[in-house]
Each structure stands twice: as C-alpha cells, then as structure tokens.
C-alpha cells in the first residue's frame, strides 16, 4: 500500500471528493495563493500546503481565495451550504475561531434545528491546531472543546494519515457542519493510505493497542504520544488499552466504558487547557457511567491553565509530554485505596 503523509492524505480526500461531486468547493485565505499578484498562482496551496494542486485542477470557481476575513468566509460557506454547495472552508489556525465563531455556532450549527428541519448546512471547516511549533499564544491552540460543546456541530480530530483521509471523506459527504481539526504537528507523519476512496464512520473509536491494566484515551496528537508510552511500558509488562475516539462529537462513549470495565483505570490526555476540556468531559462521563468499574481515580493529563508561551522551554512545560503520560499511568497503577 502506498505511504502518504497526513498532508497528502487530506489533499487527496479533497481532490477525490471534488472530482466526484461538482458541488464541493474550497474557500479560504491563500488556499491557492497568488491572487492578484504578478507571480505564480497556487503559490501557497494553503499556508501549510494542504490544498496545493487543487487550484490548477479545479480552477478559481471552485478553489476560492478570499481576503483575510474569517467571519465572511465562515458565513459565506454556511450560506452556500444552505443553497446547494458543499463548501470546505479553511480556518487557517484554530485560534482564529474568535473572529468568526458566531457564523459557526449561531448560524451553521443551528439552521437545521432552528428552521424546523427544513434547512441544512453541509459544510466542513478545516482548521489546524496544536502546540509545539513555537507559534505563540495565538497560533498554537487546540480549541476542540469549544466546538465539541455545540449541538449541531460534529468534530473530527484525525491522528494519522489513514484516518485523516477516511474521516475527511465522511465529513465532506455529511449533511451537517463538521469541524475537521488537523494537528499541525502531524502533517509530515505518514502511514499506509489506500489510493481509492474510503469513508470512516463518525463516533467509532479506534483501539490502537489492546491492554488490560490501564485505559489511555488521547485526542489529536496526544494519541501518538500515548502509543509511544504504551509501547515502552509493554516492555515492563504493563499492558495499556490505547483508544483514539477520532471524533469528539459524536463521542464513542461505549468503547471507552467497555475498556474501563476491563482495566478499571483511566488516563485521559489532551492538549487543551484543563477547565471544561475534552479530558474533563470524558472524565465526567466515565465517573457517571462506569463508576463501579473504577479501581483508581480518573487522571487527566492536559496542558496548563495559561496562554501558550513562546519560549521552547516554557511551551514544552505547558503541553503534555510522554513523561507526563507515563507518570500518570504509573500513578493510577500504584494507587491504593
């Protein structure tokens, strides 16, 4: 099977869906790049090169460069989705949610319900999140929790190239507004990705390691950190179940509950600030629904409650590291009532 990067897998999903369905468009800032300039068009193909090559193939009517205008991009995508197109709108950095959130949570997310089931909003918001690239406080955040809490939105957090392609294809075909959160730390990572199209269902967690001692749930790139920890601990005879929910909305609660019923111990890892985050949410669900199975306190490994610092030493301390996950696993294993 061909090896492709996360970036290539996402690009391929868009290109294949655009070939299949002429109502799919891409709209955003520099999704091609070079508009109105004397140099080359498709100069960027997205600031991280994820949409590169779509412009030459599909042209300016379907790969639409906009001004830097996030509210209008999200609003235009929502209005277009209500009237026959299936837009993939790029929100360059998830941090920019603040300048367009109304168009997402008050508009796109609510059309179907607010208008009694007579409207729909089949759009995808592709956005990139994640710290570790020294982007500072406004180019590094993962704000998955802010969209996960909104009824009407679906939220996808692919953690590898294979999932990214299959989940994006599902997102584009979905008739609701889907927030597709790409972890910018993963663009260069690669794995086997089939050339043909395939769809991965939302709300179905992926069991990446099967174990009996501790359940580790990760979100976005923290899944990969959890896997590294699980593999190291396996050498010591500690067996971890590593679960990637893949979508935070809908959330596959059942799979996490089933795992905790076996292990009795749960460590949840996300790269978000700790209050009201995804780890906190999953923690409350398990405390309510699998309380009897717990043999140790549920433990959250999250980022710190501070803006994201710039200095590498500080940022590394801000975000959850493998050593934090390992310490948490050892702590729940060593817990004595």
């Amino acid at each position: 099977m061909p090896i492709k990067t996360y970036r290539q897998a996402i690009n391929e999903a868009m290109a294949q869906e655009m070939r299949r369905d002429s109502s799919v468009i891409v709209i955003g800032e520099d999704v091609a790049g070079g508009a109105g300039c004397d140099g080359e068009r498709d100069a960027y193909g997205g600031v991280m090169g994820v949409t590169k090559g779509l412009f030459p193939e599909f042209g300016e009517s379907r790969v639409i460069d906009t001004p830097i205008t996030e509210s209008a991009i999200m609003g235009a995508a929502a209005g277009a989705a209500q009237t026959g197109l299936r837009p993939i709108a790029e929100l360059m950095f998830m941090d920019f949610l603040g300048v367009c959130f109304d168009q997402i949570y008050n508009q796109a997310a609510k059309f179907r319900y607010m208008f009694g089931g007579k409207a729909q909003c089949p759009m995808v918001v592709r956005t990139m999140a994640g710290a570790g690239l020294r982007g500072g406080a406004q180019h590094s955040q993962n704000l998955t929790q802010m969209v996960t809490m909104v009824p009407g939105l679906k939220v996808v957090c692919p953690t590898n190239a294979y999932d990214a392609k299959g989940l994006l294809i599902t997102a584009i075909r979905d008739n609701d507004c889907v927030i597709f959160v790409e972890d910018k730390f993963l663009y260069e990572t690669s794995c086997d990705v089939p050339d043909e199209m395939y769809a991965i269902s939302f709300g179905e967690a992926n069991f990446l390691r099967e174990g009996t001692d501790v359940t580790i749930v990760g979100i976005s790139n923290t899944v990969n950190k959890a896997l590294a920890v699980a593999d190291r601990l396996a050498a010591e005879g500690i067996s971890c179940d590593v679960i990637d929910p893949r979508t935070t909305s809908p959330l596959d609660e059942e799979s996490i509950i089933e795992s905790v019923e076996v292990t009795g111990r749960l460590v949840i890892v996300d790269e978000m600030t700790p209050r009201c985050g995804i780890a906190a949410d999953i923690s409350s669900i398990i405390a309510e629904k699998a309380f009897g199975a717990l043999r140790a306190p549920i433990t959250k490994v999250t980022a710190a409650h501070s803006p994201i610092p710039f200095a590498p030493a500080l940022e590394d301390a801000w975000m959850p590291q493998e050593s934090d996950i390992e310490a948490a696993v050892r702590a729940v294993l060593g817990y004595v009532r």
Partner: protein, 323 residues
Amino acid sequence: MSLDKKQFLQAYRTMRTIRDFEYRVSDEFGKGNIPGFLHLYAGQEAIATGMCMNLSDDDYIVSTHRGHGHCIAKGGDVGDMMKEIMAKQGGSCAGKGGSMHIAAVEKGMLGANAIVGGGPPLIVGAALSAKTLGTGSVGVSFTGDGGSNQGTTFEAMNLAVVLQVPAIFLFENNGYGEGTAAGYAVGSKDIASRAAAFGMPALKVDGADIFETYKTCKKAVDHCRSGKGPIAIEASITRFRGHFEGDAQQYRGKGEVKRLMKELDCLKIASDLGIKQKLATKAELKAIDAEVAVYIDEAATTALAASSPDVSELLTDVYSSAY
C-alpha cells in the same frame, strides 16, 4: 408609474397583509398568547414588498430579528408563520424557531436572524452558490441601520465585491438601533456612501413609497442578474412600533411617532397615489382590506387552536441523522 394595475394591487395586498399580521400578533402578544420577544415590521412594509416583487422563489433573502414582513413578502405561508410565532405544531419551523427565526426556506427565505449583522455573510454564500452553479439567482440581505455598523456586514460587503457575486445589501434605516439613534450610531451618517466605499454602486430610496422602492429594487436586481456584482440600497423609513413589543419608546421625541405614522404610512401613500394614478379604486382597496382581515383572522384563530409541539420533538433535527 413603476407599477401597473395588477402589480399595484398585488403590492397593496402584500403590504396590507404584513400590517394586519403585525397588529394581530401585537394583540395576541398583549393577551399573553405569544411567548418570547416580538419585533414588528409595521411601517416598513413597502421595502420588503418592493424588493420581493422583483424576486422569484429561486432567489434568496436573509432577514433580521424584525423578519415577519420579509417572510410574508417572499411568499411565506401566513398560517404557518402565525403558528410558529405562537409556538404551535405546524409552525414554519416546527415551533423551534419562533418570531426571531421565522423562515420559509422553500420560498428562498433562508431565515430571520437574531444576531444583528448575522445575515450579510450568509447572503454572500447564497449569492456564491448562484454564481458557482450558474442559476441566475440573486441574494438579498435585509439589514437595519444597526446591523450596518457590524463588522460582519463590512466583511460581507468586501467579500461580495472581491468575488463579484450577485448580492444585494438592502439597509432599512428606520432611524433607531434599539434605543439609540442611527444619527448617533452610524458614524458616517450615510449608510449608502459607506457601502459604496466598498466598491459597489449604492442607491438611496424613500422607503415609504412603494412605487419608488419597487423601482429602486428593480434596478438593483437587474444589476445583479446581469452579472455586474453586488449592489447596496439604503431605504429610509420609520418603525411604527418600538424596538420590541413592550418598548415604551421614551427615547423618541414628543409626538414623533404619531407624526411619522401620519407622514410615512406606506399604505396611505400607496392608496393615495394608486387612486390618483387610476391604478385602483377606493372600493377595490377596501375589498382587499376586507379579504386580508378575514385571511389574518383565520390564520390567528387556527393557530390559537393548534397544539404545542410534542416534547418528543425536542431532539429531532439537531443533526441530519442519528447522532
């Protein structure tokens, strides 16, 4: 005149329907038959009517929190609207929207919007669909003087110009954004020239005169349909009621409302001009008044008798399929 006899009678009927609808829901609100908030369009009827007469079901509009008039003018079912506003089964939005989210999606009325400035970006998208799919449709955002000050509106106007989509930004300047004068809140004092500064033509019209609003809106729609990109209109008008029902309007001058209701009553202006131009007789207009009165009364009576939505509907239509 810009309207022929048939068009004039249609315009008069639409305006009368909106006026009677609004006064009836005001009455029902006073009797406690309508939950929530109501923002009425009475006084502004000639604007929605003049615009929507130039549109078909394939054209799109988005509206404001003051949206009943736009919905009726776009062909929304008055009975379903009455049920929706009274929070009843069979309402336009199944009782999940209410007055501030009144819609007739099947007629191209994509929804009233309770976020001031929420609509303009959406109409850029509807106009983008029209352009991309080559349907020949146009999109119209009805926005108030209040919404004209929102950043979303500025972004939408700029993007519409950049993408050259068939969008019309129709600003209804009724003089007040809630309880603050447009003369205070619109820094430039002139919404049309501000829209023009984004790089599109902008027209101004007396919003109380149906002949003028029809003519100006026709110009704008023709502009969009001929592929010339977006255009703006500023229609000046007054509102007969408060920002919301129950608003004591202490911010308005002494006798102001009474005077403006006399000077700027679009129905009175229409009937005077229509009769003078021999487009209608007094008797014809009276007959329309009587028919509309019956129509509105039937809608209200039916809605009053309808049941509340079943609570089993609480979680339907949050998503397209099982979640």
